[in-house]
Amino acid sequence: MRSEYEVNMAVERYADTVKRLCMVHLKNTADTEDIFQTVFLKYALSSAEFESREHEKAWFIRVTINACKDLLKSFFRSRTVPLDELAELPAELSDDNREVLEAVLSLPDKYKEAVYLHYYEDYTAPEIGKILGKNVNTVYTLLNRARQMLREKLGGDGDE
């Protein structure tokens, strides 16, 4: 079990990451709060030793994604929450930011998380495969497909 201090430090370090992952997967703030509690409590009770900050961050990403999926899987939720609704975005975003986020969030789940991990967190395909428990080739395919969809939505120059 970890101390309160350790937990607070982890909240400072990873709250933004957890928040972004929640936005990628979830639609409302109440669920986000749930996930925060689940993830950081799990961290507090876990005795996992981390070799490095990267290792720790990957742990948080994996735990958050799993927690989100567990939440979405629950039978009750699948019956009560509308499926095709976008997450609430912060009001103070610029138009461009809003356009990009809406484009990303409108992708199907499996593309969203790959896009987030690759474009924002700078993970390579093999790393993403490890975190998500997916075949590397599957990750390549997901990323390619996502890139195409985003290009269609956002227009623009394409990328590497």
Binding site: A15, F36, F40, A44, P90, L93, G158
Partner: protein
């Protein structure tokens, strides 16, 4: 597109409120799980329990009254405030033998007394010429009264049994001389009547012998009065025992005076 995605996500941040709420929640949860937490909550309960057990144990195991039974075997029963025997002490050789041959602990005092009187040795002594005294000693008047009347009904069928009560101080004096209370009482009587015996000698004499000795010593001063004078409520049922001399036991007569 990379840069656009990066800068878009960069603008997504966890609100301070959300962070604080999470920290508070987790802190509260881990506090509950800390091993010390349960100990802190349980400690007062355990302390109360220990106190109850201690007080109860003390109330149960400490004798609040003593019943001294003397014939020749001298035996004292420590009786707790629930009228159960919690202590059995033999004050001479025969008494110790008797104590070890009977299992009287945790019995009701009247059952214990019945068992003593029913034992082979005692019943043969009683049916012979033996004299039995039963003294109830204690500072709790209510309990002593209760015990005394119980003891009396136990010994009611015995012509040679005498019951009386006394105080704790007298018991201590008796013990300091190494005598059971009944013997001590008889010893005092004997000394008063002019007897020259030491407590050590009295210890192993039978009550009958002591009584006879007292009687023979005080016989000259006593006129046959035909009945026993019984002063005080603590007085025993000194029966005149129809001995033709018309005289009750002298030691039984003076025995109620402390009440």
């Amino acid at each position: 597109m990379n840069e656009r995605i990066k800068s878009s996500f960069d603008n997504i941040r966890a609100e301070e409120e959300l962070k604080e709420k999470t920290s508070r929640y987790v802190a509260a949860r881990i506090e509950k799980r800390r091993p010390g937490f349960m100990a802190v909550r349980l400690a007062p309960m355990l302390a109360c329990l220990a106190l109850v057990i201690l007080v109860g144990g003390w109330a149960w195991f400490s004798p609040s009254a003593t019943i001294s039974v003397d014939i020749n075997p001298s035996l004292e029963l420590g009786v707790n405030r629930f009228d159960k025997v919690v202590q059995v002490v033999g004050w001479n050789e025969d008494g110790r033998e008797l104590a070890s041959s009977l299992d009287l602990k945790y019995m009701d005092y009247d059952k214990a007394l019945e068992q003593i009187m029913g034992s082979e040795e005692i019943s043969s002594l009683l049916s012979g010429d033996g004299v039995m005294t039963v003294a109830v000693v204690g500072d709790n008047e209510a309990q002593c009264g209760r015990l005394l009347s119980g003891v009396r009904s136990c010994t009611a069928g015995q012509g040679n049994a005498y019951c009386y009560s006394a105080s704790e101080e007298e018991l201590e004096e008796a013990h300091s001389l190494g005598l059971s209370y009944g013997k001590y009482r008889a010893y005092l009587e004997l000394t008063q009547a002019g007897g020259q015996l030491s407590p050590d000698q009295v210890r192993d004499m039978s009550m009958r012998e002591i009584r006879d000795m007292i009687e023979s010593l005080s016989g000259e001063t006593e006129s046959g009065s035909g009945q026993v004078h019984v002063p005080g409520s603590g007085q025993g049922q000194g029966q005149g025992q129809g001995s033709g001399q018309g005289k009750g036991p002298a030691w039984a007569r003076s025995s109620g005076d402390e009440n």
